[in-house]
Subunit: 64 residues, 6 copies
């Protein structure tokens, strides 16, 4: 019954990319931990680029 939370910057992920992330992350815990996919949840959070920082700087600034 794993719960997997993937947080990425919000840069227009397509519906297909999200589906691939969900399928891939679920397969990981099935393959490595023998978990049941029926109860495996994956949640993708898309974070605005002004709201994510690394090295002390907003990602919206780093990208420039």
């Amino acid at each position: 019954m794993p719960y997997i939370n993937i947080r990425v910057t919000d840069e227009q992920l397509t519906k297909e990319q999200k589906q691939k992330l969900i399928a891939g992350a679920t397969q990981l815990v099935v393959d490595i931990l023998d978990k049941n996919p029926e109860t495996t949840h994956v949640i993708i959070d898309e974070v605005p680029i002004d709201n994510w920082g690394v090295k002390g700087v907003q990602y919206s600034t780093l990208k420039k």
Copy 2:
């Protein structure tokens, strides 16, 4: 001082439903753990249905 995070798919919860969730979750930790409601926080996250998967499939597809 509990912190309670409720994550649900984004399907147009009403303001009243949210208020009931907040009141109910707070009451739970008051009743069961004798916590102080003054410092009990409840946060509801509404997750887009393309961003939540179970069984390796997006909820937006599962619903069909």
Copy 3:
């Protein structure tokens, strides 16, 4: 398919208290949002009292 995360200070919750929290939180989303309990997950995190602060002060100090 809600996911509910309850974070409390680690003060020797009994197994029975945890079961009550899990049952109660699940019932909340069944009653208020008509969610399916089969796919509702509740996770309780017990946080050491040196690791939780409010008002800028460790809970281990506040309790004294």
Copy 4:
């Protein structure tokens, strides 16, 4: 390699306030824990005021 998540009610934080939070939180772990800012991530979540409750009441109601 700390990960810092700051959750606040959504009340129109400016881009500059967010930058200050990111810089300040990063500096904290550099100063206190001697962490490397290069791999320190800060994420700010802005939560709608109907979705955050304290004392069992929605923040949108408490504010009135």
Copy 5:
């Protein structure tokens, strides 16, 4: 710069299983989203089986 949090019940994962989860989850965001592995973080949380519930019941009870 994704952040991936994998929460599973605490059932004696080996160090090797954890390494496989970390490598696999990182590869996912590299392959699907073209993210930089240098700044991709994966955190595994092992949750005691009394603290995780599904269907309103503790996992420690469900397993019996």
Copy 6:
């Protein structure tokens, strides 16, 4: 009423370092966002070094 979660690798933080993190993080949201410290919560999670990966590799291996 901010909620701040600081996740670091578990490397024997002292009680004093934790207190400084809690005080500093609280002060940040007071200074920058004019938040009330009374309802500001800070939680520090110490993550085992086998459970945190970056660049696809466990931190316990990276440190060697």
